[in-house]
């Protein structure tokens, strides 16, 4: 792929008075990729998007597309189009004119074919002469998308585009967005607070929090190897254990915690460390009927809650230290399920545990002891 069209954010920073919305972030977004900015509201993701669009002026830093600095150009001079959260369709124009708007402003002569082709792409060509007010939310969303992609921008920005849709429609639009992105091959920068949405669509995700990028990577990477507590808990759920590195065992560090010793992939050979493991990675020896492999991490506890959710049963197990861990068990088993009050052995492959920096409170306590 031609790398000349990459979108680069260099030390990009935005302050509103005393509040730092975006704290000097650096990102390179490859041309043609589907990139997601994921984070809770107020994390700076929308501000970042607006700076790329030119709707917000950065306090400092640069925005470059294909090596050209566009930091100080006006929104209408940028090869960037936005799908707004509220769609922002022009209520006084019909659907055709809404989609043709950008082409007409750039003085494109015959817009008919491009507009209709794009409407075909979002499967709404039959609504060309309707007004936006006569369309459903999902249809308006697709028109907003068509209005942006018809211009074939170097970068397409999507600001929580599916936020206003109901769950079922949202899932359907996620698949459709991905299809359209593959079909047109544009760079998509998608802002969302929905981790499932980001993971199912994006090639690369930047998890943002308090104006900084906490972690950057592919969906699988972020899920299996989160590097901060924040990422570990924002993308899915995690059970975390705090402890001190007691010894080493090959690629693993042996972590001594209040609930016993566990192996975790880490290069660290001393000091404090935290370890996380996803609820679905934990298995209950009593229900699987398997013997615990010798290399696996294991811990005993008491089931305090069991909730059947269809695809899985979600258990809460209280450990010796009083810590409660969550276990998701897929409903594949014919045998008995664990009951509340049962004493169980939990085990998991050591390669499923990921190392996290020890929390500040734990590190201080370990220092003091």
């Amino acid at each position: 792929m031609d790398l000349n069209g990459d979108l680069v954010l260099r030390d990009l920073r935005k302050e509103f008075g005393d509040f730092v919305a975006v704290d000097s972030i650096n990102l390179t977004i490859a041309q043609g990729s589907f990139f997601a900015l994921l984070g809770p509201s107020g994390c700076g993701k929308t501000t970042t998007l607006r700076m790329i669009a030119g709707l917000e002026t950065p306090t400092s830093g640069q925005v470059l597309i294909g090596g050209t600095d566009i930091t100080h150009t006006k929104p209408h001079q940028r090869p960037v189009n936005t799908v707004f959260q509220s769609y922002a369709l022009f209520p006084h124009m019909d659907i055709f004119e809404n989609v043709a708007f950008g082409l007409r402003r750039r003085g494109v002569g015959n817009v008919e074919k491009q507009v209709m082709d794009t409407l075909e792409l979002v499967q709404l060509a039959h609504l060309a002469r309707r007004k936006p007010g006569q369309l459903s939310g999902g249809q308006q969303q697709r028109i907003a998308l068509a209005r942006a992609i018809v211009n074939r921008p170097a970068v397409l920005l999507l600001d929580e585009p599916l936020g206003a849709l109901d769950l079922k429609l949202r899932r359907q639009m996620q698949i459709e967005l991905k299809r359209i992105q593959t079909e047109v091959g544009l760079t998509f920068v998608h802002v969302t607070h929905d981790q499932e949405e980001a993971m199912s669509m994006a090639d690369t995700i930047a998890v943002m929090n308090h104006g900084v990028v906490e972690q950057l990577g592919g969906p699988l990477d972020l899920y299996e190897r989160p590097v901060t507590h924040y990422v570990a808990n924002f993308l899915g759920q995690s059970n975390t254990f705090e402890g001190t590195v007691a010894s080493r065992d090959g690629e693993f560090a042996r972590l001594a915690t209040a609930d016993g010793e566990f192996s975790v992939t880490s290069a660290q050979s001393s000091g404090t460390l935290a370890m996380g493991v996803r609820p679905e990675k934990l298995e209950i020896a009593e229900t699987t009927g398997n013997t615990v492999p010798p290399t696996a991490n294991q811990v005993r506890g008491t089931v305090t809650d069991a909730a059947f959710t269809g695809v899985s049963t979600q258990y809460v197990v209280r450990l010796r230290s009083g810590k409660e861990v969550t276990v998701f068990e897929q409903n594949l088993l014919f045998g008995r399920r664990a009951q509340v009050g049962d004493e169980v052995t939990l085990y998991w492959d050591a390669r499923h545990s990921f190392a996290l920096p020890a929390s500040a409170a734990h590190a201080a306590a370990a220092d003091g002891s």
């Binding site: 669009a53 929104p75 209408h76 936005t82």
Partner: protein, 291 residues
């Protein structure tokens, strides 16, 4: 049975609610309108006193009145002054409304109060104040003289310009408020969307903001033009014999000369022309031809 009567009374409710309004319109609009039309085709009572007329259905009254140049001139001036005042008010009110709706931030309520504030002073007093503002010793002429743009004996009052200025000023809130309302309702993200789609600020205004605020502009121009064309206070207080508007003629014919048929013919003609103009205007505005 009970159910049927409940449905029946519910379906009558809208008509009952309409009744007071309809009665009001019948008494204070339809009756005077018919009486005006009747009066316009009366002729003097033979041997009667001035002001005594009989109903003769002489429709030629219209021809007689409308063939007199003084009356035609007054009618023409009414529409010309009203038109110029409407245009001037639009040019002042649009930026004002735009600034209040989109730029004023927290000062918005304050500015809105200021727009309406003149209403707390009597219409007549405010208009008389314009005599001082535009008069020979007033600040406007004073400033123009200081800049040597006008001779020393120059005065703006009384003149057509003073009348138009008075009309513009007096009807400005009626232009400002509807435009403000339509701009304030507008989703400002539409402007961002337009800029994102390759529009400069000016193009975004022309293609998005202005068309969306057109209902306000249409309402404002109607609320200004209609009363301004029937106005006579401004022409009386700020004008002279050469700036008479049709309102002044109606006023003097009716109250001074007791010439009811002529006054009625002029009133009726004024109303008919305004109705026709409004009809054409609103239809064109409705089809977005005005944009």
């Amino acid at each position: 049975m009970a159910e049927a009567s409940a449905v029946g009374s519910r379906s009558r409710t809208p008509y009952l609610l309409l009744l007071p309004g309809m009665a009001w319109l019948a008494v204070f609009f339809v009756v005077p309108l018919v009486s005006l039309l009747m009066q316009s085709v009366q002729t003097p009572l033979p041997g009667g006193l001035p002001g005594q007329y009989e109903q003769t259905f002489r429709f030629a009254n219209f021809v007689d009145v409308l063939s007199r140049t003084e009356f035609l001139g007054a009618l023409g001036r009414s529409f010309l002054f009203a038109l110029l005042a409407t245009v001037a008010a639009l040019l002042i009110a649009y930026p004002l409304a735009y600034a209040i709706a989109l730029r004023a931030g927290r000062a918005k309520p304050l500015f809105l109060v200021l727009v309406v504030a003149p209403f707390f002073v009597s219409f007549v007093l405010r208009t008389i104040a314009w005599r001082q503002i535009l008069g020979a010793e007033g600040p406007v002429v004073g400033a123009l003289q200081a800049l040597h743009l006008v001779p020393s004996n120059f005065s703006i009052y009384p003149s057509s310009l003073a009348v138009i200025a008075g009309l513009t000023y007096n009807f400005l809130p009626f232009m400002t408020l509807p435009i403000y309302a339509s701009l304030d309702r507008m989703d400002t993200r539409l402007i961002e969307a337009a800029q994102d789609l390759y529009s400069s600020s000016w193009t975004a205004f022309r293609k998005v903001t202005l068309p969306i605020s057109m209902p306000g502009v249409v309402a404002g121009t109607l609320l200004t033009f209609i009363p301004a064309s029937g106005d006579y206070i401004n022409a009386q207080l700020l004008g002279n014999a050469t700036t008479t508007m049709v309102g002044n003629v109606v006023d003097s014919r009716f109250l001074v000369n007791s010439d009811y048929p002529t006054a009625s013919v002029l009133s009726f003609t004024l109303m008919a022309i305004i109705l026709a103009m409004v009809f054409v205007y609103v239809r064109r505005a409705g089809t977005e031809e005005l944009v």
